[in-house]
Symmetry: C2
Subunit: 489 residues, 2 copies
Amino acid sequence: MLKDIQLDKSSSIYLYLQLYNQVRDLIKAGKLSPNTKLPPIRKLAKQLGVNNVTVVKGYDLLEEEELIYKKVGRGTFVAPAKKIKIEAEAADLDQQIYIDEDTKLDRAGEINFATAAPTPDLFPIAPFKKLLNKVLERDRGYAFGYQKSQGYLPLRESISNYANRYNISANPEEIQIVSGAQQGIDILAKTFLDYGDTVFVERPTYPGAISVFKSRQANIVEIPLKEDGIDITYLEAKLKEIKPKFLYLMPNFQNPTGYSYSQTKKEKLIKLADQHDLLIIEDDCLSDLNYSDQESNALKSLDKADRVIYIKSFSKIFMPGLRLAFLIIPDCYFNDILLSKYMSDIFTDGLVQRVLDLYFKEEVWEEQLIRLKETYQVRYESMIVALREYLPNQIEFAKPNGGLNIWLELPRGISASKIKDKSLKKGVNIAPGAAFYSNQPQVNKIRLSIAAVNKQEIKEGVKRLGALLQQKLNDKEDDTWDNSVLPLV
Amino acid sequence: MLKDIQLDKSSSIYLYLQLYNQVRDLIKAGKLSPNTKLPPIRKLAKQLGVNNVTVVKGYDLLEEEELIYKKVGRGTFVAPAKKIKIEAEAADLDQQIYIDEDTKLDRAGEINFATAAPTPDLFPIAPFKKLLNKVLERDRGYAFGYQKSQGYLPLRESISNYANRYNISANPEEIQIVSGAQQGIDILAKTFLDYGDTVFVERPTYPGAISVFKSRQANIVEIPLKEDGIDITYLEAKLKEIKPKFLYLMPNFQNPTGYSYSQTKKEKLIKLADQHDLLIIEDDCLSDLNYSDQESNALKSLDKADRVIYIKSFSKIFMPGLRLAFLIIPDCYFNDILLSKYMSDIFTDGLVQRVLDLYFKEEVWEEQLIRLKETYQVRYESMIVALREYLPNQIEFAKPNGGLNIWLELPRGISASKIKDKSLKKGVNIAPGAAFYSNQPQVNKIRLSIAAVNKQEIKEGVKRLGALLQQKLNDKEDDTWDNSVLPLV
């Protein structure tokens, strides 16, 4: 079948992408059966009259999308057809939902690396109570009245000043208050996505976004994320293929990976957006938690041509249980998005908006942020130390400059979901990687979060996890661990 | 063209409905041009070999959908094609949005019959403040922690008890907390509606529901609402034509009309739902505000076969600015709806849920409801008295048994939107009827709400409105008021 492949060297589409497209089509059409062996790289390169690298890159893409898999020393094979049904996906997602809800309140004694939701003890109650009562004294019933759908104007003014400190210029008229970042994503999906539209996301990405885009029946294209940001070459190639309604991304301390875009990548991305008239949705929930001295500027701060819609959540840094976030929206989209906000819940709780406004105005905000950052940084450093001490050497992870998440890569063939089952029995909860991909494949990735664990728990939890993984690896060396049929990612 | 019409007397579809369908198709296909005169009733009845009543009913339906219009003494004509674009609808809706936001805070001095959002002075702040601080003392940081998507369990238990008093049996597991009734509608639409699905609504209905259904690209079928409830015959006929995903309705003190379903109609409806496997969404925001001694029981209280999903908002009776409502959901739909809730905003503000729970537990709830009902009832009775005193006799309205809204019917041909423009100049704001219909036609209906006006304002406002309408009617008698081209509804 591969004999039918013909690459057009005069085309503007990269040769490796042409190869990838044609093989993918053959697989999807069933013309290449599962477990068919593909030609070795050199042989195919010779046959097509191209460089070996072209075939390597083409195969890499196919492997990335789990259309093929490799067996060391044996070659490359077509992956078994996916039989994931919508129902199964929903069930998986359903499980995923509760990751953020497994707080200590529910499972006493468990060490919870699964949730990125901070525990309540991190947030000082006294200033909140003081400011809440101040609002009640000042505004009385108006604190409970119907609010403008756009949000409480004084808060929008405070946010405008706040954004300015991050070199984001946004006047209060461009700011839309929403009930948390999840609602922000939902509202943007309502505004931009209809049946069959395409949206680009990072791979892996936030599952709450994936599920919203699926609910709008959108076609989701995942663009691989590297340690220094999204794969620009892949993105550019995909943009030549299809124009998405938007690209959803998290440039700083990404969820789940913790990766941040390099300044060069941020600039390239803005340039690409200009060239391709690409709308970018920047979800920024963690950039405040920067433990390094490297700047973590927002893509929005580089946006001169209204290419970026910016979402900022306060869940991780204000009060997680109060649903509050804001969007910065270029003027041309404003009315449509306002309408979507109205349809979603008319307006966001006015009382909480007023309290947050006082957090900014009375400078409690800055104080709380510094305190939180210190706490998280201690946890984060404990986590890195523990991982280095207790994890088997074969397990890789990048050390992010900030945020709440660390992304572990297990040796190929080890299913993170199975590890989760085992670690739960040891009293340690983790987030297996599958949830962060559009089609929830078996993957050898794990997200560990420091939001709900203290220093002691981190040490103890990683120790247990490390022992478990070491045992798995030993088993593997005893060859009882079967990885032959798993697609490798 | 009408010569091609053939009715099939052996069909199970009513003859008048067959006639309606065929004429509608001819009009929509452009085979009958605008302003074409249709045959007189007797002539067409004779041609088709049917009873006159069949043609009358067929024509009535066509007129109801504004496909034809009548000129007194001249006959029946095809209506001009509608040129309403999505953009234009959005703009209209956009205007509509702000109906509920024109609070006194914004337009001092204006008498606002347009908004159904209660003014903040109606809600005593002291008990709220007391209970809020109690929650903060008791739960500390947990009041701000992440919450279960389903909602705070003690509140769900309180609601279960509360529902019991209204003969609705719902265990806490069947209750889903949402951030206001609008979100409830949005979540249900997300769960049940995809591109091209059909949904039935009352005609007229709540515009926030219409816009959500349109956003899911659903096909909206409006079923006429009468003073004693939905038109069951019409509904049944439509059910034979097409199976909707659900029927959305408000059986008590409907918005905008104030109409309530008779007990007979409620029972018929439940029976019909059983026969046609019809899912009903019952939106109950005002049944607590019953000023009569007639029971205003929920459809849900009659539901034995899990046909009804129940939405109850607290906006009009607890604190309007706090987004809080609940759904009662038959078990079979629960997981799908929970997923939609998660996608919408993950969970509803936990602090407010805890405070509301104490409202129930400490019996502040009952107290506040009694107080509010008294206030609204005084306003309501002032409204009826004022309408009887100041409105021209030609203007009709039903006297509802409760709620916040009164629905005026102006003499045919008077556009409510134009009246609104004029009454605003006199310092009186009203809600013209157009917003409450799916395609926002010019209509001769007005919704007057008592939520944001006191006794004195009601008297003064109705006096001004009455004078304005009298003047209009006088102008009309001078024949300067042109109603010849308006479709009559």
